[in-house]
Amino acid sequence: MSQKSSPENSVQDKTFLELVEELPPERESVIPALQKIQKSQGYLPEDALETIADYTDTPLANVTGIATFYSQFYLEPQGDHTIKVCQGTACHIKGADDILDELKRELDVKAGEVTSDGKFTLTNVRCLGACSLAPVIMVDEDVHGNLTTEKAIEVLEEYE
């Protein structure tokens, strides 16, 4: 368990711990624990990585190494909604680059960044499994297909 003494941290640690407590306290729980934290927090705060390291008895360096290996994990806070623009083969051929460029312009961010109002994170992904409706984007857990640059902007309005 984490040895942090300041009350704020201990409250937070307890919440992180509560989030992972139902998993067996072992090395194999690292990824499921990271997934649980990210699902609830939207990203992986440093303290949470420490909590997981303690709980699963895994060196912090290894936990961090795992978190950085997989593209699904974020070490920085994310926007309220995450936009994933598919860059798979089918979408690539159907003009996914145009969609990405348009969203970058509209949101005034680069891929991987959060908008200044904190509303959206814009990222890339390799195939969302809706290739027949290419080009496709995913906002949070909703997939939107058959897009044009205009329609992609319209989709964002649903998440205002």
């Binding site: 795992i66 089918a90 051929i93």
Partner: protein
Amino acid sequence: MKVTSKEDLEDIKKRGLTSLQSDKTKVKVGLASCGKAAGGDKVFAKLEGTLEGQEGIAVEKTGCLGFCAREPLVEVEGPEGDSLVFEEVDEESAARIANSLKEGKTPEAKVLGRKGNGEKKYGDRKDLNSLDFYRSQKKLVLKNSGIIDPESLEEYAAKDGYFGLWKAMNKYSPGEVIEEVKSSGLRGRGGAGFPTGKKWEFARNAEGNPKYVICNADEGDPGAYMDRSILEGDPFSVLEGMAIGAYAIGANQGYIYVRAEYPVAVERLKKAIELAEDRGFLGEDIMGTGFDFELEIKQGAGAFVCGEETALIASIQSKRGMPSPRPPFPAQSGFRGQPTNINNVETWANVTTVFIRGAEWFSSIGTEDSKGTKVFSLTGDIDNTGLVEVPMGTTIEEIVYKIGGAERGSIKAIQTGGPSGGVIPKEKFDLPVDYESLQEAGSIMGSGGLIVMDEETCLVEVARFFLDFIQDESCGKCTPCRDGTKRMLEILERLTSGNSTEEDIKILEELSHYVKESSLCGLGQTAPNPVLSTLRYFRNEYEAHLEGNCPAGVCFE
């Protein structure tokens, strides 16, 4: 109530049949990810809202009907099994459909075709199975998708679901199950085409207990979604296949490794596992036979290389998803160092069919060395994009022009096998799809991605696209893959931006052979395929780029 006898199973089937052939009019909305992506959820909500409390009408969800280009698809099925499928339904036409049904009229909306016993009532409409898209398909793996409610074990049983497991466990010894799989001729659908029965035999004979079975649902090919649709449209068929495999191999624990991007598939699987446990098709003492088999879902975290079996095992154990050299093969030393058998989603679903229909029947479909069917996700520059299942040996010509409805003269090539595969030019479209033919042509069967490319696609740029993907996804463990593909990508970037030099093509070719021969795992070993196959068939396009000319008019903007 748990199933412990054949009578119990028959009883579930009966209930499923009643539910499938109810005396209500059913309005079924295809709500796999593709239907949802096209706006199916809104259509469903509109239909449900408008028809709420309407006597004799039920609004239900189902899996993917395959014709994804025409999603959202809505089927209206009368009590006599007479049905009409509407295409490209939006909220407005959904409201019209609902209101007509309330008034007992035939809805006015865009029709794809009639189905089932629809001939009498809708004789003027085309039968779905007579449409070019469906006519030459043969559905074994997708037979339930879009027909049953994927969250109803009863409806699955109505289609003979779990009778395969029943037969395997009550009529055959584990050794006989393996013989049956061997004689079916089934080969792995995850890419390499290894004979499934043989693989099971290795795992069964391997020393060590416990043993494990794993379902590879990582579906890494960026441009393919067969496995997702199977999991979303017919999850029990995968669970049943895995239980049969576990019994044959002697494994009491299994895992399904699903990629991070498939939330709907994960939800359906969770539900299916729960229902199967309640009925005694999973868990302790399966169907009263004394055999235990627990199944757990593991979610991936976004890494293409984790589709490779040794990397996948590392990932399930919460490690970085790095491949390790084989041997030892997973059958000898896999999950937690124990004998482990990994198969792809579609392979497991096929196992179920082998036991429901028999190995002999199964092996009557397909070619000499490639048995059964293959599901392809047909996408790219064609009208009829979707999920198609054809007997092995069907020609590319048939798939692209007839099923896909591609315009003759406008198509340049297809790409199969994703980043590990290659292109096949239109001159070779008379080739049958089977493992060996595609390999000889410089591509691979792969897991089933089939992307049609027209004359406006630049194949040098496509090769660059795949190398860019590989560079992103290389785990960095071995030098040839990490650095070799980087050099290859740099050359391709020079070619597509007009900064190449005379030697570039030659160096690219040399590097390709080097990376192919010296990489540690399949990712690196197959990474040069997109380059080698485009060089083989479209060398002239590469040479044109040297001169600053892109024949497709894509590069040098």
